[in-house]
Symmetry: C2
Subunit: 356 residues, 2 copies
């Protein structure tokens, strides 16, 4: 597409997370007059997330389609990030790779299963002993006994990313409106008080998408998770240099470093509808598991504990398709919304091109 | 004192925590023209605190003077709270009493020491088995094996209290100024940019008091502590009805209920100067210990984790005296600032009366 393809077209994008903001910016780049709706920008899953770009370490037997999708989207990430940086909004892509580590024997067995599975797919991962892990990442504690190096799995600062996408969208003339959509249909978005007409309506409302259109009802559900933001102090042991994912007595935890001594620790995952606020038990587990892997975090500042809602789908694959003429869905990204972002934007652009 | 005693007198109170706000209100009631200085009202120890009024359960052999002071101040609390309520600002005094509970054998031995000590002072406390404790407070978990009932130890909602004191002070004409004092002397308060003259200067700046006057240097020090605010959800097991203090493997923890399903969990205590922000390790201990005593908190919302600085003194007793003519200190209350508040206000009023 180029600048004039959507000239004269109006679009409303519902949801100003990374998916909605990036799509809005893309449609505006192609010439559309775009409105981006969100009652509470910078509060949803995109803002709360950890920012891992991790198709390999998220892989699991039976989810080959997701691995393929994630791998394809990850390939687009360097150029995607460079494009934002060139526009003056560097999203903080980190290319230091990922270590996956295990604590007890069952955790180690699960990691071995992952390694074996990846070998059948010709994905290279490097098995490492506890000693080898600590020589690469001295912050890892004595409980860590086994691990894998996955240099290709990256991370991005999701808040800088969202800020970047919103800034680029604004610079391209996208009108941002703080309003809540209650339903969408062909050429129409119903608001709590009023409605908006548009040639193209994009549903990118994450976990809230299920309520907006009949075709998404019972398809998109919220999957709750807790996440913490820590910060090392002057004098603290430094955070890991790359993303550390761990299995601690069967619980999954990840530690994603940020510029400026920040460390994001996530994430629990359970079905509790839109239950608000972080649970004591979830925060307890994240703190304990993070300390087990990286003991030096004990004197870090706990800056925040948040809960978010991933947009879950029945097969863990995103829903990126026309729901009916004029109404396009881009939701259901589950744990992988940030990883799958460049691929989703490309797919949406292609779907719109085909429909014209 | 009555309305005209301080007519024509000017006063500056440094620090708008509960001590400073209450003294400012009292001086204004007596006719003084009062300025209340604080660079960040509602952020210090008074705001962060738990609000226990607990001279007995805080007692320890060798600290008889503190116990006597606390007991005397506690006697003033019902009338003090009633006075605020009558002015339309109920501070939420809770008179349900306190249970002190122990988990392991060493904890139980320490509680027995406290009970024996209190018996020598003719303080009545009632020893209770785990079963008896749970029949009174069904939220207590199976790990709780022994305890004491201390019906006379109360609690107050410290944030409502501070709001009440600031509102009453304002209603009496106290001028609140958001500025930082850097030093005080006779009839003078030095600000970062400028100075204020006053007949009476009161230093009530909590942990920050030590920097304001030579006589407080090396006397008042910050004693850091972490504290959590939880909230039960609809469907959660209800919080305890009275304050629960516990010893969990040697660590002290308290759970203070609030109206509206709130529960305050505190507090760690350690020497780290003015190190900002809650430590991961402190929050981890509070969560684990609270869950050990009251397992139902696991699904509560963790609303906040904060750090505060108690104004410590060498003998754990407050410093309420003239530092030099015209400069009065009311600081150094340590863990007990809210308990000791009514007594401190009365003592300050008496010191000013004597000096005239």
């Amino acid at each position: 597409m180029h600048m004039t393809v959507l000239m004269g077209t109006t679009a409303v994008v519902v949801g100003a997370g990374v998916v909605g903001a990036a799509i809005a910016g893309r449609l505006a780049e192609d010439g559309a007059a775009v409105t981006l709706l969100d009652p509470h920008p910078r509060s949803g899953a995109s803002w709360v997330a950890g920012g891992m770009l991790a198709p390999v370490t998220e892989a699991w037997p039976g989810e080959e389609a997701l691995l393929a999708l994630g791998t394809a989207s990850l390939r687009r990430w360097p150029a995607f990030a460079a494009g934002l940086a060139a526009a003056g909004h560097d999203p903080g892509l980190r290319t230091d790779g990922t270590l996956v580590v295990a604590v007890d024997s069952a955790d180690r067995a699960e990691l071995a299963t992952l390694a074996d599975y990846l070998a059948t797919l010709d994905r290279k991962v490097e098995p490492l002993t506890g000693r080898e892990l600590r020589s690469r990442e001295p912050s890892l504690g004595p409980a860590v006994r086994f691990g894998l190096s996955v240099p290709g799995d990256l991370a991005v600062d999701n808040r800088r990313l969202l800020d970047a996408l919103l800034a680029v969208a604004s610079a391209r003339g996208v009108r941002q409106v703080a309003a809540r959509a209650v339903a969408v249909g062909p050429r129409l978005v119903e608001l709590a008080d009023g409605q908006l007409a548009a040639d193209i309506v994009v549903v990118a409302a994450g976990a809230w998408s299920g309520a907006l259109h009949p075709a998404l009802r019972d398809v998109i559900r919220p999957v709750k998770g807790e996440i913490l933001r820590l910060r090392a102090r002057p004098g603290s042991l430094p955070p890991p240099e790359r993303t550390v994912r761990g299995l601690v007595e069967g619980r999954h935890v990840y530690l994603v470093p940020r510029d400026g001594d920040g460390l994001v620790v996530g994430a629990t995952q359970y079905e509790a509808g839109f239950e608000p606020g972080p649970r004591v038990g979830g925060v307890r587990d994240l703190l304990a598991d993070a300390e087990r892997l990286v003991p030096g975090v004990a004197d870090y500042v706990l800056e925040s504990a948040d809960a978010g809602f991933r947009p879950g789908s029945p097969d863990n694959l995103p829903v990126v398709r026309w729901l009916e003429p004029g109404v396009l869905a881009a939701t259901g990204h589950g744990r992988n919304g940030i990883l799958l972002l460049p691929g989703t934007v490309a797919d949406v652009a292609e779907l719109i091109r085909e429909a014209r």
